[in-house]
């Protein structure tokens, strides 16, 4: 049985997308699916159709990190006693650090510390890195060229987020200026050896658009 028929109809494309996603070991991107479908197949439509079809069922279609996957419905988690894995527990400090990275990315270690008012203890960042929730992203173009951190796909997959723009409350926080890293001047505890007006190094502009690029990768 080979793929010889011409122009499979919408239903057929939907069936195939369904089968592909169902059989896949991980979330699949539209591009990955397109490679296995006839040219010109409308994957967006198929995904929308499937999403509607599975809405409210025991299994649902979900977009994570720009990829698609089926997963069980969250309200049925109580059934899954056998499948549940004891998650690695993140400390409060680690979770807060993760949140700061997620909402402010790309962000440097010093910036994380300045939001929390304490230095990051050993083991926090490397745990997040090791779990694959966080990645080193690049370097800030500022003196010292500090490394910046960002979230990784696994973070989005774990928390079921399509992209970092879907973080809970992110739009409101941004609107309220809460995600601004250039703190108003003057918070620094006065240090006689330093002028208080000394501004922080400007943060690389166009931070947000870069998120998107990260996941495009070839």
């Amino acid at each position: 049985m080979t793929d010889l028929r011409f122009a499979p109809d919408e239903t057929e494309i939907e069936r195939r997308v369904e089968a592909l996603l169902f059989a896949a070991a991980g979330p699949l991107s539209a591009a990955e699916m397109a490679r296995r479908l006839p040219e010109g197949a409308d994957i967006g439509q198929a995904l929308a159709g499937l999403r509607a079809r599975y809405e409210g069922r025991g299994v649902e279609l979900e977009c994570v990190a720009d990829r698609w996957r089926f997963r069980t419905s969250p309200d049925l988690s109580f059934l899954m006693t056998e499948e549940r894995e004891e998650p690695r527990r993140l400390s409060k400090a680690a979770l807060e650090t993760l949140a700061i990275i997620a909402y402010h990315q790309p962000v440097t270690r010093a910036e994380i510390e300045s939001v929390r008012g304490v230095s990051i203890s050993r083991g926090t960042l490397d745990l997040l890195l090791e779990m694959g929730f966080v990645r080193l992203r690049g370097r800030r173009r500022s003196p010292g060229r500090p490394v910046t951190y960002a979230t990784a796909d696994r973070f989005l997959e774990h928390f079921g987020l399509a992209s970092v723009h879907d973080l809970p409350g992110v739009a409101d926080m941004r609107a309220a200026g809460l995600l601004d890293l250039s703190l108003p001047t003057g918070f620094e505890v006065p240090d006689p050896s330093r002028g208080i007006h000394e501004d922080e190094d400007p943060i690389e502009d166009a931070d947000a658009p870069e998120f998107a690029q990260d996941f495009i990768g070839t």
Binding site: S29, E85, S121, T124
Partner: protein, 272 residues
């Protein structure tokens, strides 16, 4: 018995035991001064931006005072924060100087900045709670338990992060260091010239066949190894054989080597 029972001060060393941070104490779950301030600010039950910073400063100073009264050693940053807040409070209470001195940020601005920091930290706290509340993979939602035998592997993604790269690098360099790092390994060879001189010195005494081991100098544990003494002595002796000053004999492969001076090669009068 004693009423001086320590009140339930539930503190513990902060999550890790790094020497650098060992004395950061986690005060009743607070990680640092900012977290304490946030908790205190919440008790005012107002919008964090409308917070009374003077009240907050008083509450914080009282907190620090109490902790010290209990002989609780506070990490330095708590005290720095305390003195900064005392300073800020005094400036806030002072009648506003006309225009102020040019190099000082107005106290109101500093207070607003503090309120902003608290608001930001609060937002991040809420965000981490919101994240925790989301359906999480393998805790609340589950992907297919048994993907098809002919698994489709997402192929346009390569599973390696910069962190993986860094750790791979460090792991190897560690291994490499472990392989190479050996301070006693320095090999010192017995120079051939020295061996020649040594042989010429003792040659007159080698009237009889003598095993190589007895001819070569003995290692004293500091200089070259015994093997090096033997090897260099042997090489030097072969040179002397070539010159006709010496004879070398071995009865079988791997058997002992015997050295003997060649009678004609040296003037006899040198013999002591």
């Amino acid at each position: 018995m004693t009423e001086a029972f320590q009140p339930n001060l539930d503190f513990s060393a902060a999550e890790t035991v790094d020497a650098r941070e060992a004395f950061v104490v986690d005060l009743e779950g607070y990680e640092g001064p900012l977290h304490v301030l946030l908790a205190l600010a919440r008790t005012q039950k107002v919008d964090l931006l409308k917070l009374s910073i003077t009240t907050l400063a008083e509450q914080y100073l009282a907190f620090v005072h109490e902790a010290r009264r209990r002989n609780f050693s506070l990490a330095a940053d708590y005290l720095v924060m305390a003195s900064w807040l005392a300073y800020l409070k005094s400036r806030l209470l002072l009648p506003r100087a006309e225009k102020g001195r040019g190099d000082e940020v107005p106290a109101e601005e500093m207070a607003a900045a503090l309120a902003f920091r608290l608001q930001k930290l609060e937002a991040m706290r809420r965000a981490s709670e919101a994240l925790q509340a989301r359906p999480q993979l393998k805790r609340d939602v589950f992907t297919r338990g048994d993907p098809e035998a002919t698994v489709i592997v997402p192929s346009d993604r390569i599973d390696a992060s910069l962190y993986d790269l860094m750790s791979a690098y460090v792991t190897q360099r560690r291994r490499e260091q472990a392989r190479h790092y050996n301070p006693t390994q320095r090999v010192e060879a017995y120079p051939l010239g020295d061996a020649r001189d040594w042989l010429r010195d003792i040659l007159p005494r080698l009237a009889d066949w003598t095993p190589l081991e007895r001819v070569a100098p003995e290692a004293d544990g500091h200089g070259p190894s015994q093997a090096s003494y033997l090897a260099s002595t042997l090489s030097a002796s072969l040179e002397l054989v070539k010159e006709g000053a010496m004879a070398v004999r071995q009865d079988a492969a791997f058997a002992e080597l015997w050295l003997k001076r060649q009678g004609t090669g040296l003037p006899l009068e040198l013999t002591p």
